[in-house]
């Protein structure tokens, strides 16, 4: 009989499975289980009850007295498939009256699924292989990683942090480095840093994938080497501060890297850093940018790291811009649908979820939908185009760059 290995489930998670009150508060706002397809097993409550039932069948008191029961493979696969439909947005953590840290629970559940041969899904395998072979999820050669910076090398000097000492290390991230539609995010970020007179650099082609995609799909153990290698690079560069423009990289370096090793410098997201630069007068946002802007809180920045005020402060500092809030904002913000490997394995589901968010932005009366995450950006841009919406998709650094007077 195949016995589930529960030694990969975190002690806190095991306590939390018993602490779930089955109230269902999480089911109504779950973007995948409740809103997009109304399937109980995808909801937090559904997953908790099913997994608890499975391991109690094999480890509970009754199993100890009467013997453990076999769990049919198809039931296990069904749970695994449904568990991977979760974007790990953390909306359930926001609403859970029992204060369960569901973000930790889902990531840990995936580690458990991987340890038991139930994850990741076949659809994730290509990305995993790409990260293992190319150090990025987009099957792009390592030598092309810093190519994005070529087109601005005349205007902005991007230091190689491994060769020249620099105060600030900008961790670009795979999506901004390789995706032709997102490259502007990196370009805008370095232009903003340059405009503020920041002494900064990047790791160039030596920068590796942060490991976020693999960690979110439960492959935490496989990322250890990758994380260690990145930390070594950080140590070599020895910056005073590290900044990221990707919410996923930010969460991973800030919250997950310390589980593997010590990150040698404080890590902040660009929204935090720009807020500080504007506040200290180092960055002047003087140029008018006309438009009604609504800000989408990326899950990794908002619910996972509670950075809600910073992007709003930045938007409000830009002359001419009017900030309008969507009905669901801050910790109640809807997810973009791309996280947790959902966009890779379930693209239609991801599209459905992002469309709901685009509708939120339209209802708010915005002209511009701004965000600070390349995945959210990608998803919304596709949804805006698919819907024929009049909304303009912008990364927050693009707005900042326009107002700072560069471009």
């Amino acid at each position: 009989m195949k016995r589930l290995d529960i030694s990969k489930l975190d002690v806190r998670a095991l306590v939390s499975y018993d602490a779930c009150t089955r109230c269902g508060e999480c089911t109504a706002t779950c973007p995948t289980g409740g809103e997009a397809q109304d399937v109980e097993l995808v909801t937090p409550r559904g997953k908790i009850l099913r997994l608890r039932e499975f391991y109690k069948r094999q480890y509970g008191l009754r199993a100890r007295v009467l013997g453990a029961k076999e769990i049919p493979d198809e039931q296990l696969k069904e749970l695994a498939g449904r568990a991977y439909e979760c974007t790990i947005c953390g909306q359930c953590k926001t609403v859970c009256p029992a204060h369960l840290d569901t973000i930790e629970m889902w990531e840990n559940m995936r580690e458990f699924l991987v340890a038991n041969g139930l994850g990741p899904l076949p659809a994730h395998e290509q990305i995993v292989k790409s990260i293992e072979n190319y150090d990025n999820p987009w099957m792009q050669p390592r030598t092309q990683r810093s190519r994005w910076s070529k087109r601005i090398e005349k205007d902005v000097k991007v230091k190689d942090a491994l060769k020249e000492r620099c105060e600030v290390l900008y961790f670009v991230g795979c999506t901004a480095a390789y995706d032709p539609n997102i490259k502007d995010m990196a370009v805008d970020t370095v232009k903003v840093l340059a405009k503020a007179g920041v002494d900064f650099g990047t790791l160039g082609n030596e920068e590796g994938c942060c490991g976020s995609t693999m960690m979110r799909t439960g492959l935490f153990e496989s990322t250890r080497k990758m994380v260690q290698k990145n930390i070594e690079m950080f140590e070599k560069a020895a910056p005073s501060l590290m900044v990221t423009s990707c919410a996923g990289c930010f969460k991973t370096i800030k919250q997950d890297y310390p589980k593997v090793g010590k990150v040698p410098a404080k890590t902040v997201h660009m929204v935090e850093y720009v807020t500080e630069l504007v506040g200290s007068g180092k960055l002047m946002l003087g140029k008018r940018v006309e438009g009604k802007v609504t800000f989408h809180d990326p899950c990794h920045l908002g619910r996972h790291n509670r950075l809600y005020d910073e992007p709003r402060k930045i938007i409000e500092s830009i002359p001419g811009v009017k900030l309008v809030e969507m009905d669901r904002a801050r910790d109640e913000a809807r997810c973009c649908g791309a996280g947790g490997g959902v966009k890779t394995a379930f693209p239609e589901l991801a599209q459905k979820i992002s469309s709901l968010r685009v509708e939120d932005a339209e209802r708010a009366g915005a002209d511009i939908l701004a965000t600070s995450c390349p995945f959210c950006y990608q998803s919304f841009k596709a949804s805006i185009e698919a819907k024929g919406s009049k909304l303009r998709m912008m990364d927050l650094m693009e707005l900042v760059r326009l107002s700072a007077g560069d471009g």
Binding site: S7, L9, L14, D18, A19, G24, A98, D101
Partner: protein, 303 residues
């Protein structure tokens, strides 16, 4: 792990655990219970036997659930050893300077249910009535038993004593009413209104109906005592204001079945306690622990 080490780990956990359980059971069995309302001591003995058995099931079930938690990653050693270490660590926290903060979190998040209040006042009220009633009932039970059987406190014993009137009669009825109100709202919500987020399966129905049966049974029992003028229910009966209302439609003959009803109520209450570790009601224990874990040991890098 060597066999000796394994046995040592188990001994460290099970010897104190079963020792404490045996001591508790002995205290329960040896108390005089001179002031209980049941007249036939055979019924009292039957109840005491059932409560001791059910308490043992409750504690063993709870211990087993906790041992299951200890199978998880993040700790070293056998589950028994991990549990002993975790309990000692928890004890150290309780007697540390951080206790105030820990208790504050417990009071705000686990008892007052602050987060639920922010999301839905009606559900918060419902849950607070059930949980508050349950906790206060337990506290009152301990207080009354201690006053009666250890202190022999006069005002708790005499028919017109202030403690008898305000704690044994009014107090129990008030907290029982709290539970009844909460449970009725929960039952109507779950079985009649059926909002989309509510999912009713057998364990949900059993838990709510079991609790309702115990609480309603308590008031029916009190009504029978008042209607039948059972000792302890003859004077100032209006202090037991809910039991008194229940007594109104009852005849004097209801008192004839008082002892049997007392045993049924007692055994059902005992069974409810035994059921907790094996039901959704276990969240009463697990949720405060989960809340305290998050509060006392935040994860590295957490915002």
């Amino acid at each position: 792990m060597t066999g000796g080490g394994y046995l040592k780990d188990r001994a460290w956990l099970y010897l104190p655990f079963f020792g404490a359980l045996a001591l508790l059971c002995a205290v329960i069995l040896l108390l005089p219970y001179e002031t209980v309302y049941v007249r036939d001591r055979a019924y009292l003995s039957a109840f005491l036997f059932s409560i001791v058995l059910c308490l043992a099931v409750f504690f063993i079930g709870t211990l087993y659930n906790m041992l299951l938690w200890m199978h998880g990653k993040g700790l070293i050693g056998t589950p028994e050893r991990r549990l002993v270490r975790t309990l000692l660590r928890a004890l150290r926290l309780v007697i540390s300077r951080r206790f105030g903060r820990i208790f504050g979190t417990f009071a705000k998040d686990a008892l007052y249910l602050s987060k639920l209040k922010d999301r839905s006042v009606s559900r918060w009220f419902m849950h607070l009535m059930i949980l508050g009633g349950f906790v206060l009932m337990f506290a009152l039970d301990l207080l009354v038993t201690f006053s009666l059987d250890f202190l022999k406190y006069g005002p708790m014993i005499s028919e017109d004593g202030w403690a008898k009137l305000w704690l044994r009669d009014f107090g129990f009825d008030l907290v029982g009413l709290m539970m009844l109100v909460g449970l009725l709202i929960a039952a109507v919500r779950r079985f009649v209104l059926r909002p989309k987020i509510v999912r009713t399966e057998l364990p949900d129905s059993v838990s709510i109906l079991f609790l309702l049966a115990v609480v309603l049974g308590g008031f029916v029992l009190e009504g029978m005592g008042i209607a039948g003028s059972i000792p302890g229910h003859t004077e100032n009966v209006e202090y037991s204001f809910v039991g008194y209302l229940f007594s109104l439609p009852m005849s004097e003959g209801a008192g004839d079945l008082y002892d049997q009803a007392w045993l049924v109520h007692g055994v059902m209450s005992a069974l409810l306690i035994a059921y907790i570790p094996f039901s959704k009601l276990f969240h009463m224990i697990a949720t405060p622990i989960a809340i305290e874990l998050e509060s006392a040991f935040p994860k590295e890098g957490a915002p």
